[in-house]
């Protein structure tokens, strides 16, 4: 009864952390546990060192998106790919993926890059429907690339090494990128688009223009895999570096704008971490109440092989992704399916990549996919036309999720 009520309140739009806290409070209350257990569990936020990476990377991403860095990024990719047929479409995909890796797919990409790419695609002669679909779906591409926020969160919740997860995400992320790029080229094979001539001079100029941003992935990845920096340290260096470059050196962000950007980014961080904090408590309650054992029994009687387990998992994740945002889904569901997956011999790293890839589709799945609404709002299109425009991209991403799920080596060959 209480759970039905909570579900109803969730659907009516109560903040998710309140729903999770409410269910944990109710559960512990029924077991006669002192409810101080909730604040104690939330305090575990301050006992999880790796979480430091979350505010720092998020802040860096927001600073980048408020500066002119997106324009410079598009210029570089345009100089490199712009001469190819379908080149600008590839530019859009590559730039969005790079950017999302840093901003954590919170819709910032569509807002920051969409404003540049959408008109650029139109003036290059791509049809409107394609552009809308491309920009909407590219907004969550890059989720599997380091240092994306959802990967870090999965690492925290699953207690798996985050640097390993970063490596594991690279090839599956590339697969999505390549499939979408291939389709974009094929779809536009008859479209007369304005191709820019390839010029070393423009490549050089674009690179010079972006000379201060290009070292960023090198700082992050080089620092981590060179063994110089821990993940959270790389986040600190990134935040400081971006702050110095965009605020002090380039002066594209005024000091007076800084508090607003800090607020915007930390509202997202606060929202995510509070959900994480209360879910520490609800997970503990569920373990106390024997939920994992019940799930075990439930699946064991119906699912008899790894293959059927993966299939069931995929269906479940796609439904989940259509109603729940990626962050809440990770903190709520991962602790419950980890032991199940282990039981069927699914590697926890592979599970993470499947999870994130499937949840990425959730951004684009009607009725509540976040990117659909952001695009509809941002480009002033009806939500139905956004649904229709995004559908082919959604199908391609679905195919790539299938490949990622049933081909574990794609995720694991670099790490195991």
């Amino acid at each position: 009864m209480a759970n039905v009520l909570l579900l109803l309140l969730a659907v009516l739009g109560a903040p998710l952390f309140v729903i999770i806290a409410g269910s944990a409070l109710w559960g512990f209350y029924q077991q006669d546990v002192d409810l101080s257990v909730l604040p104690i569990e939330i305090f575990a936020i301050a006992e999880t060192p790796i979480l430091l990476a979350i505010p720092l990377f998020t802040f860096a991403g927001y600073i980048l998106s408020e500066s002119q860095a997106p324009t410079r990024l598009v210029r570089v990719t345009q100089a490199v790919f712009g001469w190819m047929p379908g080149g600008l479409a590839m530019v859009s995909l590559a730039a969005c993926a790079f950017f999302t890796a840093f901003t954590g797919a919170s819709g910032v990409t569509i807002i920051a890059l969409g404003a540049i790419l959408y008109p650029a695609l139109a003036s290059a002669g791509y049809d409107e429907r394609f552009n809308l679909g491309l920009v909407t779906s590219a907004g969550s591409l890059g989720l599997l690339f380091a240092p994306s926020l959802p990967i870090i969160l999965y690492g925290v919740v699953a207690k798996e090494p985050i640097d390993t997860l970063f490596v594991a995400g690279a090839a599956p992320g590339m697969l999505m990128l390549v499939l979408l790029a291939g389709w974009s080229v094929w779809r536009n094979r008859h479209t007369r688009t304005a191709l820019s001539a390839f010029s070393w001079r423009e490549v050089g100029a674009a690179l010079k223009d972006a000379a201060l941003e290009i070292p960023l992935p090198i700082v992050v990845l080089g620092g981590i895999y060179g063994g110089v920096l821990a993940v959270s340290e790389a986040a600190a260096v990134t935040a400081l570096y971006v702050l110095i470059v965009e605020v002090v050196v380039r002066r594209e962000i005024k000091l007076t704008a800084l508090p607003g950007i800090v607020r915007e980014s930390m509202m997202l961080v606060g929202g995510i971490l509070v959900i994480l904090g209360v879910s520490f408590a609800s997970t503990n309650y569920m373990i106390d109440a024997g939920v994992p054992e019940k799930l075990f029994a439930l699946t064991e009687s119906r699912v008899d092989s790894k293959l059927t387990f993966l299939l069931a998992l995929l269906v479940f994740l796609l439904i989940l992704g259509a109603i729940l945002d990626i962050f809440s889904a990770i903190v709520l569901v991962v602790p419950l399916i980890l032991p199940l997956a282990a039981n069927y011999g699914v590697d926890p790293i592979h599970l993470g990549i499947i999870f994130l890839a499937a949840m990425q589709l959730g951004y684009l799945t009607p009725p509540v996919g976040l990117n659909l609404f952001i695009a509809s709002y941002r480009f002033n299109k009806s939500i139905l036309s956004v649904y229709a425009a995004t559908l082919p991209f959604l199908l391609i991403l679905f195919v790539s999720v299938l490949i990622i799920t049933f081909w574990p080596s794609l995720s694991l060959f670099l790490v195991r």
Binding site: L12, A14, V18, P39, A46, P49, A236, P259, M266, G271
Partner: protein, 176 residues
């Protein structure tokens, strides 16, 4: 600016305070984390307190960010039904949801208080020097503020539901 109402001024002050605290915590976080890397690489080792302080700062930023998100009504939620509801019903539903939110957060604040009180009783220390409960106090304070914020939202949405939709051009600018 004499027609700026007192609650709008209060809102501005509160918002400024949240922003200032967030900025301060974040800058401290970046500075401390980078200083630690530098110190380690020139062979000074780390500072004993900085790891713990950084972790506590994450908690502070999280709670402050959540408080800020409550002022802007920016929490992560499933928005499945409300966009299909007519204006007054939508606002009416929000009244129930906001009241529930305020209630749960008040309970969290209350038990947060008893958590802090017990830490205080045991005289736990942060960095072996300062009372740990000073830093834990952000939990009851933060949830208390969120509860207060959603009580205000309850009133606001209740009023909007009762009044009905106002034409943006001619209607009263109440609530900014």
């Amino acid at each position: 600016m004499s027609d700026v109402r007192w609650w709008q001024r209060l809102d501005r002050i509160g918002r400024g305070l949240e922003n200032a605290l967030l900025l301060l915590s974040l800058v401290a976080m970046i500075g401390l984390a980078v200083a630690q890397i530098v110190a380690r690489n020139v062979g000074l080792g780390g500072f004993a307190f900085s790891d713990e302080l950084l972790r506590l700062l994450v908690l502070w930023v999280a709670m402050l960010g959540a408080v800020a998100a409550s002022r802007d009504d920016h929490h992560i939620r499933i928005d499945l039904v409300s966009r299909f509801l007519p204006y007054r019903l939508r606002k009416g539903v929000r009244v129930i949801v906001d009241l529930f939110t305020a209630g749960v957060c008040a309970v969290l604040a209350w038990y947060g208080l008893s958590f802090v009180a017990s830490t205080r009783e045991f005289e736990d220390l942060a960095f072996g020097a300062l009372p740990l409960w000073w830093f834990q106090a952000i939990l009851p304070v933060g949830f208390g503020l969120i509860a207060y914020r959603y009580l205000l939202w309850t009133c606001q949405h209740g009023y909007e539901s009762w009044r009905g939709e106002v034409d943006m051009k001619t209607g009263s600018p109440e609530g900014g």
